[in-house]
Symmetry: C2
Subunit: 260 residues, 2 copies
Amino acid sequence: METDKRPLILVSNDDGYRARGVRELIDMLRPFGEIVAVCPEGPRSGGSMAITVNEALRLAEVPDFEGCKMYKVNGSPVDCVKLGFYVALGGRKPDLVVAGINHGSNSAVNVVYSGTMGATFEGCAFGVPSVGFSLTDHDPQADFSGCRPFVEKIVEMTLRNGLPAGMCLNVNVPNSVEPPKEMRTVRAARGNWNDEYQRYTDPFGRPFYWLTGSFHNEEPEARDTDEWCLAHGIVSVVPTLLDRTAPASGQPEWLRSLKF
Amino acid sequence: METDKRPLILVSNDDGYRARGVRELIDMLRPFGEIVAVCPEGPRSGGSMAITVNEALRLAEVPDFEGCKMYKVNGSPVDCVKLGFYVALGGRKPDLVVAGINHGSNSAVNVVYSGTMGATFEGCAFGVPSVGFSLTDHDPQADFSGCRPFVEKIVEMTLRNGLPAGMCLNVNVPNSVEPPKEMRTVRAARGNWNDEYQRYTDPFGRPFYWLTGSFHNEEPEARDTDEWCLAHGIVSVVPTLLDRTAPASGQPEWLRSLKF
């Protein structure tokens, strides 16, 4: 980052450009630089890192948007970030990608399904320091004010220090009664979804299904996890990798010595 | 796995139930156990780990499918695996999840966008040993016969040995002139997509975009990578993690000592 010009910040999300979370985020980021936002035209929660390969994509500017350039895209969060890099920014490389603020938690294993983190990983894949922010509150009218000091701190430090290649940040802010006063760098808790599908019958007698379920934390006492922090009113910061290769040290012998 | 009954294998893919790759895969897997397949009703390449949360899902049996139960779903590869676990298998836990065989490579960073690997990771999240197979040939009529001995070997070894919790396998088979004769456990090559968007104008004068681009391998000489193997006619096996947390040893000091 050159210090003699304002940082360029690309913003995206997965709740769509109308969501309150991204408007609040833009308001928090405005003092840090020039903001260009590219967001899905509608909700894309659970979009992960999906890309659109078999359909035409549209990018349209949303006029008069909170004093910054906002574009909407008929695609996934990753489509938004890619179209941001290659079309909306016209080749200018941003200094930072910020996604969110998500309406709802992206802690533990949820990072892999999250469209917010999908956008964040895509920024990381492009070689730009990238951060995803989430508030543990799904309410469309959620109060994001508790996020502000943490967004400011993380953005300021990430702009100043950068992030190692291939690493991005997954930041979750608890929706606690008292605004959070603490922030910790932790790991994603181990756990899984006990999914269920609610079964319905349509007017023609055909079944259809809707995903539901609840998250099961396998290690609720582990204080070095994001879930523990969030349960205790603490903001969690999880440094997260784009590369998913298992280190050789964790591989079983039969794999390390695989022959044909 | 109990040895006194046949293994139960859940199969999925991202090219859709009509794809040649999944039919060939089922033919290769048949000797290993009982097969139940749940696949997207149409192509879902690039589906990553996207889940459908805002729409109704349908699951319908495809009659007379290659001598096994095949269901089609109007959702993503992960939706297919989840509906497989919770509906199609009716609560029976499979011994193995196998996804593919993908028409096209899923090496290097492509693992994060891949719907084939999305299905594989979902099996892993459910606590089942899971393997994704891909052939480096996008042709709908691709010749999958070179995959067979490697699918057999990997499936046999995975059924026998299992995989550590949270680890699954990303197997890529090169589409070489001579059938591959070697297989190696390696890591994902570092690299990135030089994306481009082809710009069109619709009959009403409005622009639309279509994703294109080419993969740039940052380390073509690194022999311990999947890209190197595939370029040299060798099957690559990359042990891959569901959890994306960066190990503390790789985190920069400012993150490890983060305070508020």
